[in-house]
């Protein structure tokens, strides 16, 4: 591969741009100067660290290193899903629901990809497994976070409508059916937008990366199509699992709407 290596000076000049922007925000009193600089610093530390960790894992090539990194990725993604919720489920459900939905959807699709589609040797080869999982998790994280937030927020706001249906003898899944549909729709919206805009409005990140790394554009576009379909499936499947399970959790064993299982972050 014929990548042009970036020097410290190149990165330093790019960093200067962020510093200039933070000076501008300070001068305009936007109040984001601090968070901008901290986020920039985090980017440097996190990505350099990632680079070094991945270099070690790639050269070691051991399955347990791959599994360990994957576990960390999943747990962080689960934390992020929960942190995006305005009214998360209380207790272990809050963290567990998003994490398990992502695990079920992203890992099953990763297995499908590695064992049947791309088939690297060995199948857990980190150069393939880790970036693929990263893209699956990153996208299903967004979908699941949006879907769950919509589910719990709508159930909270429309509790009178849900209970009115229960009072008329509707079963729990009918009583919350329209909210469930809304929640799934908002979980799928980002990926539908991404597929529709792919290649025209935006040049997808992975394809850009492959082209920069010297892969032929045709080969890169085939990979990007594969990835798009996989992350669509992962987002959709993950949202369905999260919304179905979450909706059931909003009702107790006697099908009473139990909003006390949510906590508020007001």
């Amino acid at each position: 591969m014929n990548v042009i290596s970036l020097s410290a000076l190149d990165l330093g000049l790019a960093a200067m741009l962020v510093i200039l922007l933070s000076v501008l925000t300070w001068w305009l009193k936007i109040g984001t100067t601090r968070s901008l600089l901290i986020a920039g610093l985090r980017t440097v530390v996190q990505l350099l660290l990632l680079g070094h960790v991945l270099r070690l894992v790639f050269s070691a090539g051991q399955w347990y290193w791959v599994a360990g990194i994957m576990a960390v990725m999943l747990l962080v993604a689960g934390y992020e899903v929960n942190a995006r919720q305005h009214r998360p489920f209380s207790g272990w459900w809050g963290y567990g629901l998003g994490t398990l939905s992502m695990f079920a959807s992203s890992f099953s699709l990763l297995m499908l990809t590695l064992l049947l589609l791309v088939q690297p040797q060995p199948w857990y080869q980190p150069q393939y497994a880790i970036p693929l999982l990263g893209m699956l998790l990153g996208n299903s994280m967004t979908g699941i976070a949006l879907a769950l937030d919509r589910l719990t927020e709508s159930a909270w706001k429309q509790r009178r409508e849900i209970e009115a249906r229960l009072m008329l003898g509707h079963e729990w899944n009918d009583a919350i059916s329209n909210i469930r549909v809304e929640a799934l729709r908002s979980g799928l919206m980002p990926i539908i937008n991404a597929m529709a805009a792919a290649g025209i409005v935006s040049l997808p990140g992975m394809m850009t990366g492959q082209i920069l790394a010297g892969t032929s554009p045709i080969e890169a576009s085939k990979y990007q199509i594969l990835i798009m379909f996989l992350i669509t499936a992962a987002s959709g499947l993950g949202s369905v699992i999260a919304v179905q399970t979450g909706a059931r959790r909003l009702f107790d064993d006697r099908e009473r709407l139990t909003l006390s299982r949510l906590k508020s972050r007001d």
């Binding site: 009178r160 409508e161 009115a164 009072m167 008329l168 003898g169 079963e171 009473r256």
Partner: protein, 196 residues
Amino acid sequence: MLAGQPLFQVKNLTTLLGSEVFDFSLHPHEVLAISGPSGSGKSLLLRALADLDKHQGQVFLKGRSQATFKPAEWRRQIVLVAAESAWWSSTVADHFQKLPTEQSLSELGFSADVLRWPVNRLSSGERQRLGLLRALVLKPTILLLDEPTANLDEKNTLKVEKLIKDYLKNNPAAAIWVSHNSTQRKRLNSKELVLA
């Protein structure tokens, strides 16, 4: 149902409020009128009977305990009509599991095309009357009525009372009726339960 067995029986029931223990029973065609200051737990009692809130004690329908019914099956027979009706779909008809007869609509002062109306066109009084009607079409055994005439003028109040009384006369059903109005409670000719 055994002869003499009550239609609906409440034993040692405490609601979420927890301050009072309820024991009463209802026979077919009876009305139990409930009154008491606001905050005394009238609505919470109805919610517990419809199994919408956690509660302690036992409730029986025709001798069969609440716990042995599927929740939705119970709520199709013990139907709560809330003080403020909620509407989840755009047209009136969407909220009826069975369409009401033209006669019952006209008894409440509606023509048949009210079913095609959008919900947001309804006044609060119209919502209250239609909220009752969508419960009555389920042919409930026990009607739980939370101030069903609170938003209505005198004329419509009497229409609603008549519709409910006729329903209870013609069906082996009973009602629990929360009412603040003492002359209404007299008209109902009912057993009384006063919450403190």
